[in-house]
């Protein structure tokens, strides 16, 4: 089979997978989350009469988009968990996995199609929600982000959804039942989304960084380093890197992109490796 037809086959399978997600009732929950968080966040944060906190000065549409990234992080990654927590384990429980695994297709291709399908199912609605959010920002502020800024915003957004898709499918392939799938899926999401701040503070205290002043340069630098080990952290650092010098991270851009590459390669390689030896 030629390289082109192989890629075409993976793309077709990814589309089948994504379409299954689009038709599932869970997609309604995801769309509700995206509309509430991304739409609502864009509208509220770009309202000239609103003052989020005294420290935040919102001057441009891109800065609103940057703040909306917090809502993207919350809703889209939760969406990946919603759609992907039982991506493999459900098929295993129903018996569909055995039918898929015996087909004359390379397991790597099959794993890639699962991954791309889940990614597509979350990224497409997120991208649409972000585009609508941009329109809402324009309606409130009379300012568009440039095409470059929007693309720069969407690249890390696509990446963070991909990282979570890898993690969720990996967890789902390990889980033997639905209960374990939910626990692993939600647990990983909670670790990076809700508990990471606490872990950073505990680690800082452990190695002697002053944690009484969370605004200090020392703590800031330390938390940026720890954030490299969290997909959410790397996402935020990538976006901050596009801001002006004052708000930009202290870490070098190369380190941040290196972490992004590591997050793209390691979980996906682990998932593919796991998929190659998967038993129905």
């Amino acid at each position: 089979m030629s390289r082109l037809s192989r890629e075409k086959r993976i793309l077709r399978l990814s589309w089948f997978e994504a379409r299954q997600h689009f038709k599932s009732p869970r997609m309604i929950a995801l769309i509700a989350l995206l509309v509430l968080f991304i739409g609502g966040g864009s509208w509220g944060l770009s309202d000239p009469s609103s003052q989020v906190t005294a420290q935040l000065q919102i001057d441009s549409a891109y800065e609103v988009l940057f703040l909306v990234s917090l809502f993207v992080l919350f809703s889209s990654t939760l969406g990946v968990v919603l759609l992907g927590f039982d991506g493999i384990s459900r098929k295993r429980l129903t018996g569909e996995l055995a039918i898929e695994l015996i087909q004359p297709i390379d397991r790597i291709d099959l794993a890639r199609s699962q991954l791309q399908g889940l990614w597509l199912a979350v990224f497409l609605p997120t991208a649409i929600a972000c585009a609508i959010g941009t329109m809402l920002i324009e309606a409130q502020m009379d300012d568009w982000p440039t095409i470059g800024e929007f693309v720069y915003f969407m690249i890390p957004t696509g990446l963070v959804i991909f990282w979570y898709a890898c993690i969720q499918l990996l967890a789902s392939s390990v889980a033997k039942d639905l209960g374990s799938s939910v626990t692993l899926g939600v647990g990983v999401w909670m670790l990076f989304t809700l508990v990471w701040l606490l872990i950073t503070a505990v680690l800082a205290a452990f190695i002697g960084v002053d944690v009484t002043d969370l605004e200090s340069v020392e703590y800031d630098h330390f938390s940026e380093m720890v954030d490299l080990f969290s997909p959410n952290g790397v996402y935020q650092l990538l976006l901050e890197d596009g801001l002006d010098n004052e708000s930009a991270p202290q870490l070098k851009t190369a380190y941040i992109w290196l972490a992004a590459i590591a997050w793209s390669v390691i979980p996906s390689a682990l998932f593919v490796r796991r998929f190659k030896t998967l038993k129905p």
Partner: protein, 356 residues
């Protein structure tokens, strides 16, 4: 019906297994570097010819699904050879080897809002084939359910969809794991006819079941698995003769009752259950080889000619327990149906639980 011929000469060995051994391995969380060897299949020899149906029977946990998964490539065997048309599956390579195989797993619980058409289109894409799935859905009797969401399908329809998936690409070896589960008697009969047509078109078929009676209706040969090992294998007659487990005849009637089995020929034993000659009576006849219809007719005629009136005639199939007891030499009580971790364990000598 639209069944494609596999283009294989009938009677040629399509699948052969020699000395195939596979054991499950379990991780121990306390000692993550060690694996614990569990149950599996041991030293299985088997040959299935093109155009024939092999019935694989055994109690729960005897290794039927493990054997089917090993043939299908889902379990990698540790010892022995698996050959498709004389070619080793390792030499054929994954993609080529899998083209020979169609697997229908046990009770696939298809669910979701996808339709049979979409499911088949997806599997076709995986196989790299682009034929229309409509004919296949017609073959399995789902032509008017092409666009029905899976959630709205009955278990019988789901079984048919699983069969359609197994038939995609006209594989030369069809592995069916408990295919009659969940089907009503009418659907079961249709299913058996369909399997016979597939076999007549040259497909080699292996069907697993724990129901010996339903197997005898349509298989050409039988393989009996117990604790992961093949305890009997051959044509129905060969297995019957080897184990002495052919079906008995239950005859009930009024009036004259034959006093002994002498009048029914050599090798026939008789057990009278309600010995009330002149009134109602009931007895069973048994022989190492099953009675054919001519012989049954002769027996009934001889009773009627002597003044007896036949009320009831029934073929009594031996239970799986009886067959296993005969095959293993154990008593029906010992052979039991208790399933545990070591259920596939050894009549022969290997041990479960040894660490590596």
């Amino acid at each position: 019906m639209n069944i494609q011929s596999t283009g294989m000469e009938r009677g040629a060995a399509r699948l052969s297994l020699s000395g195939v051994t596979f054991r499950y391995r379990y991780r121990n969380w306390r000692q993550p570097l060690k694996t614990r060897l569990g149950a599996g299949i041991h030293d299985v020899d088997l040959e299935v010819n093109s155009g024939s149906i092999l019935g694989l029977i055994g109690p729960n946990g005897s290794g039927k699904t493990t054997l089917l998964h090993t043939i299908a490539g889902l379990n990698i065997h540790e010892k022995g050879d698996v050959k498709f048309s004389g070619q080793d599956r390792e030499i054929l390579g994954w993609t080529n080897a899998q083209r020979h195989i169609g697997l229908m797993p046990e009770r696939v619980n298809w669910s979701g809002s996808s339709t049979p058409r979409e499911i088949l289109a997806r599997i076709q894409t995986m196989r790299g084939e682009g034929d229309s799935p409509e004919n296949l859905l017609k073959t399995v009797g789902l032509s008017n359910r092409i666009n029905t969401p899976l959630d709205n399908m009955s278990q019988g329809m789901r079984q048919r969809l699983s069969l359609a998936c197994a038939l995609l690409g006209s594989p030369e070896i069809l592995l069916l794991d408990e295919p009659l589960n969940g089907l009503d008697p009418v659907a079961q009969a249709a299913f058996r006819r369909l399997l016979r047509e597939l076999a007549d078109a040259g497909t080699a078929i292996i069907v697993s079941s724990h129901n010996l009676h339903e197997m005898e209706l349509f298989v050409d040969s039988l393989a009996i698995l117990h604790r992961g090992q093949m305890v009997a294998y051959g044509t129905l007659d060969e297995v019957d003769r080897a184990l002495g487990c052919s079906p008995s005849l239950l005859i009930a009637g009024n009036g004259w009752c034959p006093p002994s089995s002498d009048s029914f020929g050599a090798g026939v034993s008789m057990e009278i259950m309600e010995p009330k000659p002149g009134e109602k009576w009931r007895f069973t006849l048994h022989r190492n080889i099953a009675f054919n219809s001519n012989e049954k007719h002769k027996i009934l005629t001889s009773i009627e000619n002597a003044g007896g009136e036949i009320c009831h005639l029934q073929t009594m199939f031996p239970s799986l327990e009886d067959v296993l007891a005969a095959a293993t030499g154990e008593s029906a009580e010992t052979v039991g149906l208790e399933v545990g971790n070591d259920a596939m364990l050894p009549i022969k000598k290997w041990e479960v639980g040894e660490d590596e």
